[in-house]
């Protein structure tokens, strides 16, 4: 399928390291739409929807933010904390969305497994179904994410 100029610009931006080290696509050889489609299939198999996952991530981020940097207990098995960093990061899609450079860490108390996401990750999943490409520092594996954030 031939890509439109807008799609080409978007993919170039996602590969650029201007906003995210190694770019949002990392070293993934697949094109953007393959990445999105593969992850969409994965979350469907898990019985979840991208909006549901993003809503849960946002809820946990809000709880974490209330701790002002401290760990916050969520239910029996989950702890979350949020760290703010200076600045904002824009969404690479062509709309005026900028996110705080906040990183939420979720820790499963029993297994010790942790997963982290940025505010931009939440937006990218909710609005664009994009979990980032393999090799990107902020790539989130849907299976791992779902396992931890819904573990309560």
């Amino acid at each position: 399928m031939k890509k439109s100029p807008q799609q080409e610009k978007l993919e170039a931006l996602l590969k650029s390291s201007k906003f995210s080290m190694c770019g949002f696509m990392g070293d993934d050889k697949r094109n953007l739409w393959e990445v999105i489609d593969t992850d969409a299939t994965a979350i469907e198999k898990l019985g979840k929807k991208q909006e549901e996952i993003a809503a849960r991530m946002q809820h946990l981020t809000d709880l974490a933010a209330s701790g002002l940097g401290d760990w916050v207990q969520v239910g029996k098995n989950l702890q979350v904390s949020a760290d703010d960093n200076r600045g904002m990061i824009p969404c690479p899609w062509p709309h005026h969305k900028r996110c705080l450079k906040r990183i939420t860490t979720a820790r499963h108390s029993a297994t010790g497994r942790t997963i982290r996401w940025s505010d931009l990750n939440i937006h990218l999943i909710k609005e664009h179904g994009f979990f980032e490409g393999r090799g990107s520092p902020f790539r989130i594996e849907p299976q791992e994410l779902v396992k931890i954030i819904f573990c309560e």
Binding site: L13, S16, S17, K18, F19, S20, M21, C22, A65, S66, L68, G69, D70, W71, A82, D83, D84, N85, R86, G87, M88, P90, P92, P94, H95, H96, R98, L100, K101, R102, I103, R116, P137, F138
Partner: protein, 370 residues
């Protein structure tokens, strides 16, 4: 075989012809000649070769418009008001403009091409912004994720700034990050030393600029900064001050304390510095020195979740709660000015605490990390 060679020859020839045509078009057809740019109704005028973006054209004239995306039209930081000569709003700008901005002629300077004489309006403060070449003189490790960088200015050799302001640091391309980027950091130095800029930086996991600063920058390396920017300034009054900061938010407060010391300022001031664990504490000795050097200054480090066995003897609790406890005991609490620097969550929480203690919101000044 012969047919293949001829085909390759023809394709190569067509390609070479098109490339030549493009170069010709670039040089002749898109040659806009000399173009005048008028800034702030004649306050500054210069003539430039047309064809470039307004952002890069202004940068070449040493007028630095903040930009985080390097002119890709995605950060929307580089807005300027163009009153004449820019043509209509481009599709690449539309998502970033609200109705009022459209009505006022606000444009993304990275998207506006310099093709006709332009009249633009920019804030006066941007004229004072310069680019500085510096040498990284010293790197100090504070904690596992916090370092201080002392940058000696080379060209120009001195800088004038007001305590509380920040600069933009240019991280050059390096392995794993092939493009240069700018990031903002508050100045923490003693403003009496106009030849050095000191930055206190916390490592952002997989952050482009902090990875450069922490893993690649070495003492003796040359770097570039531009600035100063920002309006987070110490007000010239005599009322007591409450400073609240977390992590690297200490930087502008430290700069303000230097300024108070230099000026012999005798204002009553208290600084609540919040961290999560004792491993996150730093600058304690420097702050104790300020306590000796400033007549009425008190430093209160607060640890919210001290590690088991850390034997922490100081104040335990969230910095906002600790500040609230203090203010509740002050009969003159509503006289205070608040100066806050840290995460948006900490700032919002601090504002709630300070206003609940009677400090009017207009007397609370802050630098949110956003």
């Amino acid at each position: 075989m012969g047919t293949t060679a001829v085909a390759i020859f023809i394709i190569s020839g067509v390609g070479a012809f098109l490339a030549t045509l493009l170069v010709f078009a670039e040089r002749v057809i898109t040659n806009y000649g000399d173009i005048e740019i008028d800034i702030n109704s004649g306050e500054k005028k210069f003539t430039v070769k047309g064809g470039g973006s307004l952002l890069e054209t202004l940068n070449a004239q040493k007028i630095f418009i903040p930009s985080a995306c390097g002119g890709r039209g995605t950060c929307a930081y580089c807005k300027v008001r163009v009153t004449e000569g820019a043509g209509s709003l481009l599709p690449t700008e539309e998502p970033y403009m609200n109705a009022q901005e459209r009505a006022e002629g606000i444009r993304l300077s990275c998207q506006v091409k310099v093709r006709n004489a332009l009249k633009i309006q920019i804030p006066e403060s941007l004229f004072a912004i310069k680019e500085y070449v510096c040498v990284c003189e010293k790197i100090t490790d504070y904690t596992y994720d916090m370092k201080q960088f002392n940058l000696k200015l080379v060209d120009p050799p001195t800088i004038k700034y007001t305590p509380g302001q920040y600069i933009q640091f240019l991280a050059p391309a390096y392995e794993g990050s092939p493009e240069e980027v700018y990031r903002a950091y508050s100045i923490s130095s003693d403003p009496a030393d106009k030849s050095t800029i000191e930055l206190i930086v916390r490592r952002v996991p997989d952050g482009i600029c902090t990875t450069y600063l922490f893993d690649h920058l070495k003492e003796g390396d040359r770097v570039k900064i531009n600035g100063p920017y920002g309006q987070f300034l110490l007000r010239d009054t005599s009322v007591p001050i409450i400073f609240i900061a977390g992590g690297s938010g200490v930087a502008p407060i430290k700069c303000m304390l230097h300024e108070m010391k230099n000026a012999g300022n005798t204002r009553k001031a208290i600084f609540f510095f919040g961290v999560r664990t004792t491993k996150d504490l730093f600058l304690i000795d420097e702050m104790k020195n300020f306590e000796k050097e400033l007549a009425h200054f008190t430093f209160v480090p607060a640890v919210s979740q001290p590690e088991e066995g850390s034997n922490w003897q100081g104040v335990t609790g969230r910095v906002t709660n600790v500040a609230e406890d203090y203010l509740k005991k002050q009969s003159d609490a509503k006289e205070y000015e608040g100066y806050l620097c840290g995460s948006p969550g900490m700032i919002d929480s601090s504002i709630r605490v300070l206003t609940a203690c009677g400090i009017p919101e207009e007397k609370i000044y802050y630098d949110k990390f956003s």
